[in-house]
């Protein structure tokens, strides 16, 4: 997670609070829009085109559980030789750390769908920015209402989460028949990890609870990259990613992850290389 994004947003929130101390009303959304600043910080102010013919961003209209909000990125099928999508960056504008994740799509893996879960702290726009191989950026956005009630973007069972730190699981889902012919697979990788945000102060010690989160996850079939993720604290605890890819006949699937304390997690699973 780039620190600059956190810093500049904090500064901007501070500034907006100074300029309009009573701007937060019970009814309306906050008038301050962090997106222009985020375009500058995360995307170096590069121009963006409307990406709605290229990518879909699916989220519930309301974050029911603030700690676990499903998000799906779906590349739309193309019938011409368009430049391929190289990366997708997911930005949750009003979160303390807006850049939630950057997905890098393996050149030969044909990833067409990625689902994960994020934390949502506030009423917010969410942006997905796809970069194509010609260097262009394509943006889509949606709006998510924060959860109500006592839901919070925090661990429900911190001890249990600690207990499965570093556990990794891979699962393949039975696909439709036509998927088998094309070799398309739907799979899921889970990592047991608290993904602590570090933004809360311990009231007893008055110290900030240190951040500890998975900042990199890389997936391969044999030695061919399928997907890599640069993650931040907006990704829910026990990072979970479900995706489609096209099998190259590989006999193994491998996941490697690293967290901000330098822990390395690595796991390899045998997969069925047939179905090509």
């Amino acid at each position: 997670m780039p620190e600059f994004a956190i810093r500049s947003v904090c500064a901007a929130i501070l500034l907006s609070a100074v300029l309009s101390p009573h701007s937060v009303s019970a009814a309306g959304p906050e008038p301050y829009d962090p997106w222009p600043g985020l375009v500058q910080d995360i995307f170096d102010s590069r121009p963006m085109e409307d990406g709605s013919n290229l990518i879909a961003l699916e989220m519930p209209t309301r974050a029911e559980d603030a700690a676990i909000v499903p998000v799906t990125l779906r590349l739309k099928p193309t019938f011409d030789a368009r430049p391929r999508v190289v990366t997708i960056t997911l930005v949750i504008d009003q979160n303390p750390a807006p850049m939630a994740a950057k997905f890098k799509l393996g050149a030969d893996a044909n990833v067409s769908e990625i689902s994960t879960r994020v934390r949502i702290n506030n009423y917010t726009n969410v942006h997905a920015v796809a970069e194509t191989s010609d260097g262009k950026l394509h943006v889509v956005q949606t709006y998510v209402k924060a959860s109500g009630g006592c839901s919070a973007p925090a661990a429900k069972n911190a001890e249990e989460a600690k207990g499965r730190l570093g556990q990794m699981r891979y699962r393949e889902f039975a696909g439709a028949q036509n998927e088998e012919k094309s070799g398309t697979r739907e799979a899921q990788v889970m990592i047991g990890h608290p993904n602590n945000s570090g933004l809360q102060m311990d009231q007893v010690s008055q110290l900030y609870i240190p951040a500890l989160y998975v900042d990199r996850l890389q997936l391969w079939q044999d030695n061919s990259p399928v997907l890599s993720v640069e993650g931040g604290i907006s990704i829910s605890e026990d990072p979970n990613i479900r995706f489609t890819y096209v099998s190259n006949g590989a006999k193994t699937f491998r996941a490697e992850a690293k967290d901000t304390d330098g822990h390395q997690f690595r796991h390899e699973w045998k997969v069925d290389g047939s179905g090509m």
Partner: protein, 308 residues
């Protein structure tokens, strides 16, 4: 005297009257057993219209001291509870027990901060409040407004419960019991042995759909231990006072229905966004606020069953 001045005076008097009324207002309280009092919260979401007064809160009067069990969803509600207590007794409030760390149960704590008053909570409650307190203050400002939230202070417990803690009120004791993570990670129950009354906090819901902020498996598992408590009546966290342990039946049915459906969806590989949409459909119509919490409960349950 100008008419403008008169209007000002009238307005000021009106404001004083209104504020005096707000100060003196008491909560509707019923004595459900000798010396055991409760206010039954409305089954609703916390809002500026209801002062956040949606949870059941209460107090127990002993020979020498009073214990308060949860303080409500705003300092205004907390002050009204205090006024109600003072209408019944002038004995000192020695203990304020927070059954857990959710805003509707502890946003009124600040009304009870005083010398000689101990705040009692689960050993994990300080951590829960540290992690969530500021978020709650920010989030509830939206639904409850500045006037109510400006007064709220997150008051952590000064006395922690690990296992059981016995509080002596003179002539009667309260047993405060800390539970493993279930509805939340910091639930305690309070048992008055004299009247066999159990204040269950949000380990027990009636009419109000159960809210899962802990572990569904662990919650289901502890229902038998909970049912074994020698109580005759229960004050649930939400809903009417009921006969023990029959009061657990509806909640158990909901949690089991939710758990078995979601567990199957996880095994079948149904994605989380799909599985949660139609979870526990058979329970719709049996609970109030179903649409406000059911998908959320299902989401939490799904992410837990994935690790089974």
């Amino acid at each position: 005297m100008t008419s403008r001045f008169a209007m000002h005076v009238a307005l000021i008097m009106l404001a004083m009257l209104a504020s005096a009324r707000a100060q003196q207002q008491t909560l509707a309280i019923s004595e459900i057993a000798p010396g055991v009092f409760m206010h039954q919260g409305r089954i609703a979401l916390m809002s500026s219209d209801n002062d956040g007064a949606i949870a059941n809160i209460g107090f127990v009067i002993g020979d020498r001291a009073v214990a308060v069990i949860d303080t409500g969803g705003s300092v205004r509600e907390g002050r009204q509870l205090l006024a109600s207590i003072r209408a019944h007794t002038d004995k000192p409030i020695r203990y304020v027990i927070n059954t857990h760390g959710h805003p509707d149960h502890m946003f009124g704590n600040a009304a009870f901060v005083a010398d000689g008053t101990e705040f009692v909570g689960h050993m994990r409650l300080p951590q829960a409040l540290a992690v969530r307190g500021q978020y709650y203050l920010d989030a509830f400002r939206r639904s409850m407004g500045d006037a109510l939230i400006d007064d709220v202070r997150i008051v952590p417990p000064t006395r922690l419960v690990d296992g059981e803690l016995v509080l002596d009120l003179g002539g009667r004791t309260l047993v405060v019991k800390a539970w493993p993570t279930a509805h939340s990670d910091s639930d305690v129950t309070v048992f008055d042995a004299v009247t066999k009354t159990l204040f269950a906090g949000d380990l027990v819901f009636l009419r109000h759909i159960p809210v899962l902020d802990g572990s569904i498996q662990a919650w289901l598992k502890l229902l038998d231990d909970l049912a074994a408590l020698p109580a005759e009546r229960v004050v649930p966290g939400h809903g009417p006072v009921s006969i023990w342990p029959q009061a657990l039946a509806a909640e158990r049915r909901y949690l089991e229905t939710l758990a078995s459906g979601i567990r199957k969806d996880v095994i079948d590989g149904k994605p989380i966004a799909v599985a949660t949409k139609h979870a526990a459909e058979a329970e719709r119509g049996k609970w109030e606020l179903f649409d406000d919490y059911n998908v959320r409960n299902a989401t939490a349950a799904y992410s837990q069953f994935e690790w089974e």
